[in-house]
Symmetry: C2
Subunit: 294 residues, 2 copies
């Protein structure tokens, strides 16, 4: 049984909740209402940081750009964003929610970060997957790390996690926890009898960076596209601390993240530290990027 009161737990850090749910494309008001219900339930159970799936307000499989455009909203002033902000303030918690963002004529696959004191920031997905290219612009905010009372928090969305650079950039900027709103789908070579490769990527990233990672996936099938659930919270040592969740049921995962321990575990022995051992002299610049060092 998790201890949700920091005083009882004996350590500082958030109780993270990942909400696995099923948004329905186009049903924006219903999706947000159901999200808020689940966020309230998570808060009641002691969560201080709640992660919702990618595009939790709009659904994922847009018929065309017009549909995506009509469902997207400005951040942080849109209707869904205001609802999430109101819930975060009322419940005294932090919320990371995947939302379709409209910035004038441009669309982004974004995540809103809002807390007890109001709006914190927006992350825009850097690596777009498949047909997302038809609707969205690639993210242009880099990988911001937000300094909060719960620790230093970064955000990544779904296919971002296929790029080790995503987590590395977060960790090098001091992130303790990366929140991952996601809409994981089946991958071509996935064997039926093994956990999704997404879980392996998440565990490896957590272990090699010494960061906790909280992934909230959706479930269900939308316009023929299945989603795989299996939401997961991984500790800074790379091992699951909650989940993987089922492949097909609405669920909330909970895990208490000990910030001090997460940071301490990056020191592996008298000689080794996961981040300081990087051979930046060899890596930088990565070849083929068309840049040279000054």
């Amino acid at each position: 049984m998790l201890q949700y009161d920091p005083a009882e737990r004996g350590f500082e850090g958030p109780v993270v909740a990942c909400i696995q749910m099923e948004p329905h494309v186009g049903a924006k008001r219903d999706n947000v209402a159901r999200s808020i219900e689940l966020v309230e339930s998570a808060a009641k159970n002691g969560a201080s940081l709640v992660v919702l799936p990618e595009l939790s307000n709009t659904g994922y499989v847009f018929a065309d750009r017009e549909e995506a455009f009509s469902l997207a909203e400005a951040l942080p002033d849109g209707e869904a964003a205001q609802n999430f902000a109101e819930a975060a303030q009322r419940l005294g918690i932090h919320i990371v929610a995947g939302v379709a963002e409209r910035a004038e004529e441009r669309l982004y696959n974004s995540a809103l970060f809002t807390g007890p004191s109001g709006h914190i920031g927006v992350y825009r997905k850097l690596h777009l997957w498949n047909n997302e290219h038809r609707f969205f612009e690639p993210g242009d905010h880099g990988i911001p790390v937000f300094d909060t009372p719960l620790g230093r928090i970064a955000i990544a969305i779904c296919y971002d996690g296929w790029f080790p650079e995503t987590y590395r950039l977060a960790a090098l900027q001091g992130a303790d926890i990366v929140c991952v709103p996601t809409n994981w789908v089946p991958m071509p070579a996935q064997p039926d009898d093994r956990p999704a490769m997404a879980l392996t990527l998440t565990m490896a990233a957590a272990h090699s960076n010494g960061i906790a990672i909280a992934c909230a996936n959706r479930i269900g099938t939308e316009r023929g596209q299945p989603f795989i659930g299996q939401s997961l919270i991984v500790g800074g040592d790379g091992w699951p601390v909650a989940g993987p969740a089922s492949g097909d049921r609405e669920e909330i995962l909970y895990a208490a993240i000990d910030l001090k321990r997460t940071r301490a575990e990056r020191t592996l022995n008298a000689f080794n530290h996961l981040l300081r051992d990087r051979r930046a002299d060899v890596y930088d610049p990565m070849p083929g990027t068309g840049r040279s060092s000054s």
Copy 2:
């Protein structure tokens, strides 16, 4: 059953063998003799690329730098290197073997790469683990990728695999296969009932780069230090194609790597390619490296 004849297999690429064995510290001549026996066995079974563990000639747990120094040898002219080179030429195969290298007064934890036409190159471990810092210099050859008739091949050694940059640098330079001589040891947070985290790191690196990775670990306990076996060959989709091997037995793993398929699988759909989707504009330069772009 693997088809070892390319004509029968219907595709081009090497049959990779990973030799899991137990070197004994100081017993250099015996270690090399046993290595050659196992290499001969692998070649007889159709292997064209054979990987031996880290420091396969000397053993791992040196009492002090003097012992390491006395066991290390010049590359490619040392005695073990000559034995491996002779075997590769006689058997018509490629061999990657972890060896302790002496370069004048400096020692490196290196891997020798030798083939049917003689010496190919040397890799020097970039990321030293724990007490290795007492004996070895950090590698200064970067991550070379060797163009061979079997494909483009890079080398990493043990703790190098904790750094996603290692595999990324190999992949960005066109590597198809990364050979990993290793001496994996138990990690602090490793649960008893799960496969080693090293396997997760290997699978994630293969999947996110679209490269095959062949890890040959040692077994046994040396001067109180246990090693965990579990040698593994992973395909470019990230899933094991051979192993993991046992934790404690001498074994040889075999897998045929289809180069064309490995390369083709990097294209995920009409929009996505694992390497071309990198956001170099965001990653480079990595923060905190003290370098700025020109």
